[in-house]
C-alpha cells in the first residue's frame, strides 16, 4: 500500500518492507500513523495501522495468504475511492474513466491492472506486467478436487464458530487449502463490520 508518501508492503509469511527497507524496525509510521507488528505464530502475522481510536487498517498473513481489514473505517474516507473494489456509493464495477460499468470480471481486472508508468508499489517485478495482460487460469486445469484432503464435515466443524455470513467461505477456504489451521487462525475470520480482503 501507499499511504501518503510511505510505501508499506506485506507479503507471505509475515514478510514486509517499509519504504524499500525489508524488515524495517517496527513500530514505525505509515502515512503518519503508527504501524505495529505482532507475530502470532509462525503461520500468522498481524500488522495494524491505527487511524483513530476505533479505526484501523489490519493486515494479516496466514502462511502464503495475505488479508487486510479496513476495520471500522468511517465511510467518509471511502466515498471518493475507486479501483477493483468498485464504486463505494453504487456498488458498480466502474472502469477507470468513472462512467463505464464493466460486467465481466476479467475485463474489469484488465482495466484496473497496474499500467506501465504507474507506481507498482511492490519491491520486485513479477510477470505479467502491463502492457502484458493479466494471466488467466486454464478452465480445464484440475489438480486437486475440493474435499480431497479435508472432508466437508470436518471443515464445517472447524468453521462452526464463524459468523453465519462467512461460514461457507471458511468451509470452502479450509477445504481448498487443505489446512484446518486457517479456520482456527482467524486470518480471514470476519466477526465485525469491516472490509476485508486477502490474497497471496
Amino acid at each position: 500500500m501507499k499511504f501518503g508518501e510511505d510505501v508499506f508492503v506485506v507479503s507471505s509469511f509475515g514478510g514486509y518492507s517499509l519504504n524499500g527497507v525489508s524488515n524495517a524496525e517496527l513500530p514505525n509510521t505509515v502515512g503518519g500513523f503508527t504501524v505495529v507488528h505482532t507475530k502470532v505464530s509462525e503461520k500468522v502475522h498481524i500488522f495494524e495501522i491505527q487511524l483513530a481510536e476505533d479505526e484501523k487498517i489490519v493486515l494479516k498473513t496466514f502462511k502464503d495468504m495475505v488479508a487486510v481489514n479496513l476495520d471500522q473505517v468511517h465511510a467518509h474516507r471511502l466515498h471518493a475511492s475507486k479501483g477493483m473494489l468498485g464504486n463505494y456509493n453504487t456498488s458498480q464495477m466502474l472502469a477507470r474513466n468513472g462512467t463505464v460499468v464493466i460486467d465481466n470480471p476479467n475485463d474489469f481486472a484488465a482495466d484496473w491492472q497496474v499500467k506501465e508508468g504507474e507506481e507498482m508499489l511492490f519491491q520486485s517485478t513479477r510477470a505479467p506486467q502491463h502492457p502484458s495482460q493479466c494471466e488467466l487460469p486454464e478452465a480445464s486445469t484440475t489438480k486437486r478436487r475440493l474435499g480431497e484432503t479435508i472432508a466437508l464435515s470436518t471443515a464445517e466443524q472447524a468453521c462452526a464458530d464463524w459468523d453465519v455470513h462467512f461460514r461457507a467461505s471458511c468451509v470452502h477456504d479450509v477445504m481448498a487449502t487443505g489446512d484446518l489451521d486457517l479456520a482456527a487462525a482467524g486470518a480471514f475470520k470476519i466477526t465485525n463490520i469491516r472490509l476485508s480482503l486477502l490474497w497471496c
Binding site: 473505517v73 475511492s81 505479467p128 475440493l146 467461505s169 486477502l198
Partner: protein, 84 residues
C-alpha cells in the same frame, strides 16, 4: 457513519494473475491518499466441482483474494472474492 452504511461490490470473481489497483482513496486520512495494490497469483490446488456437489460453483477458484463488506442492508452478497 461507518463503512457498512454503503457498500462496494457485492461479488466479483477474478481468477487471474497480475498486479491490480484494489483501491485508491483520495484524502483517506489526514489529507493523505491511500492506494492498495495487490499481486494475485493463480493457484491450481483447487479446482471446479460438479454443480451438484457445491452450490457456489463460481467460487471454486476464488479462495485466495476476498473482499468482504458486511452487514449493509442492500449488500445481499457481502463478499467480493477474487481468485489467485
Amino acid at each position: 457513519m461507518l463503512v457498512n452504511s454503503l457498500c462496494f461490490l457485492a461479488h466479483v470473481d477474478f481468477m487471474g494473475a497480475c498486479d491490480l489497483i484494489l483501491i485508491q482513496a483520495a484524502n483517506f486520512a489526514s489529507n493523505q491518499d491511500l492506494q492498495i495494490n495487490i499481486r494475485t497469483t493463480i493457484r491450481y490446488d483447487v479446482s471446479s466441482l460438479e454443480p451438484s456437489m457445491f452450490y457456489h460453483l463460481t467460487e471454486m477458484f476464488s479462495f485466495v483474494v476476498s473482499l468482504t463488506l458486511s452487514f449493509a442492508p442492500h449488500c445481499s452478497t457481502p463478499t467480493l472474492r477474487m481468485l489467485l
